[in-house]
């Protein structure tokens, strides 16, 4: 599903964010990416959806070799992935329905297909009754649900989440995690960078720990492993 071989990312300012990372994530896995701030977690995540391009090494996502992927073709990679962020990245001018539909509009899906699929995912995240509300009328947890709905509306094989619970209170975080588990149960691979020790230690899944641009630990059913 996601395969990295000896991936190094060196930024133009000389910072080496990942220094020869190799990892293999299989279809249907649920993976936490943990580590201190500045350890290279974000870069590791960004490399997967080609926000950043590796300096050297090989990355294959869903059969696509990202090293040889032309910039022009990147949109077609993104269509096979869903991405969720800490700050939700919703469009304030659009209501809940429109925010989710946006992801299908830009890939030129048929209008009636858009309607059907959007209502389906809003049902899944439990926001069907708030479809006409705007992001500023929603709580943080609800906004994150909208952003998750948007990430899965085009039925991706992988959802990549960069600290999705970072801005949420503990209780809401659990709700969001339940949602991710449900999505994972449907066969979608999930890669999640997180600082939430409690979640990692409770919902036991594969844990990849990154420090200083290297994978220092990779264990199934692992612990968060850092003191706060």
């Amino acid at each position: 599903m996601i395969e990295m071989k000896n991936v190094t990312k060196k930024y133009p300012n000389g910072v080496v964010a990942t220094n020869g990372i190799s990892v293999n994530i299989k279809q249907g896995e649920f993976v936490y990416v943990v580590g201190p701030s500045g350890a290279g977690k974000s870069t590791f995540i960004k490399l997967m959806y080609r926000e950043e391009k590796a300096t050297s090494g090989q990355i294959i996502v869903n059969g696509i070799d990202l090293a040889t992927l032309k910039n022009k073709k990147v949109p077609f990679l993104r269509r096979q992935l869903g991405v969720v962020f800490q700050d939700f990245k919703l469009l304030p001018r659009l209501n809940v329905y429109e925010n989710v539909a946006f992801a299908l509009e830009v890939i030129e899906e048929k209008p009636d297909e858009i309607r059907r699929r959007v209502m389906e995912v809003l049902e899944l995240v439990g926001l069907k009754h708030k479809a006409r509300m705007f992001p500023n009328e929603l709580s943080g947890g609800e906004q994150q649900r909208v952003s998750i709905a948007r990430s899965i509306v085009n039925v991706p094989k992988v959802v990549i989440a960069d600290e999705p619970t970072g801005n949420l209170d503990p209780e809401t975080s659990w709700e969001i995690m339940n949602l991710f588990e449900e999505i994972n149960a449907r066969g979608t691979t999930i890669v999640m960078a997180t600082h939430n020790r409690e979640i990692v230690n409770t919902i036991r899944r594969r844990v990849i720990a990154i420090e200083g641009g290297l994978i220092v630990r990779d264990e199934h059913g692992g612990e968060y492993g850092y003191e706060i």
Binding site: I64, R78, R79, F102, V106, I107
Partner: protein, 305 residues
């Protein structure tokens, strides 16, 4: 593993086209002040371009009219008998570069003189001092001097005359004013493009988060770009409305005043139609092109995401 589905749809869907148009128009309203600024810039530019175009095209017409009027007057020597005259006429006729030739006897010439300057000249009917004449036109007016010189070398020509010097000066003047006009127009167009790209840049900054999300969910570059290009196009079209109205009204009035006074004269104004339609079409085209070009320039810089 799945193969990338790149041939999603090469032909853009109608709903997408509609969306692009909707977005581009919405954006005009959202940045209304910058829209007004760019449209004004395009308007001023195109008014000047339009007026210049009217003047230039008419000057060109005047130049062509004058050019076509240039002819060579060959005075035939009195010593030439009928056979010699005929031979000369034949020779001139066969000369390459000669398009038209008319022969006129000295009696015809006197009649013309009388008609132009009055009956006083009738006195000369007793003993006509004029000479038989051949009028020659060069196929290419610019070659008039060369043709005249060649004919001058023939036997039995008394004198060969053409408006030497004056024609050259006129063309020189026309060429200089044409070049000055082009430089001015280019400067103005450049300014308008600059203002439009600034407007689009502000639009893009205002919509940065939107573009970022579009790219994240897999929008292609052209999908992101097209609404901005359309917005530039609208700016150009809106900016060309007033100039078209100005050019049309202006020329309508000028033509009404000047054209009757030039009746029967050598120099004529270009007709209202099709000139005004051509110039209007040109203004619209320039407006659209600078609009699209201006937004293309700033979108290119901003969309390297």
């Amino acid at each position: 593993m799945s193969v990338m589905n790149t041939e999603v749809n090469t032909a853009m869907k109608f709903s997408t086209v509609k969306r692009h148009f909707r977005e581009s128009i919405k954006s005009l309203g959202r940045n209304s002040w910058m829209t007004i600024a760019s449209v004004s810039a395009v308007t001023v530019t195109l008014i000047l371009v339009g007026v210049f175009a009217l003047i230039m095209m008419n000057l060109n017409k005047v130049a062509t009219d004058l050019e076509n009027d240039v002819e060579i007057k060959v005075l035939i020597d009195e010593t030439a008998d009928e056979a010699a005259e005929k031979a000369l006429i034949e020779k001139v006729k066969k000369l390459p570069g000669v398009s038209e030739m008319t022969y006129s006897t000295k009696e015809d010439e006197l009649t013309k003189l009388v008609k132009d300057f009055g009956d006083d000249f009738k006195l000369f009917e007793q003993s006509n001092p004029l000479r038989n004449v051949i009028y020659v036109k060069a196929a290419d007016p610019q070659q008039t001097a060369k043709v005249a010189k060649t004919i001058d070398k023939y036997e039995y020509t008394y004198d060969v005359m053409y408006g030497e010097g004056k024609v050259e000066k006129l063309f020189n003047f026309l060429n200089i004013s044409r070049n000055v006009g082009i430089v001015l127009i280019l400067g103005l167009l450049f300014t308008a493009i600059f203002l439009i790209s600034n407007t689009i840049r502000i639009t893009i900054i205002a919509r940065r988060d939107e573009i970022e999300i579009m790219k994240l969910v897999g929008a292609t570059n052209s999908f992101v770009r097209i609404p901005f290009l359309l917005e530039g196009m609208w700016l150009g079209i809106l900016g060309s409305i007033i100039p078209i109205a100005v050019v049309t009204t202006l020329y309508h009035n000028i033509y009404k005043i000047i054209a009757p006074r030039l009746q029967g004269e050598l120099v004529q104004l270009l007709d209202f139609s099709p000139l005004v339609y051509q110039v209007s079409g040109l203004l619209l085209l320039i407006g659209v092109l600078i609009g699209i070009w201006g937004s293309f320039m700033s979108v290119r810089k901003f969309l390297k995401i």
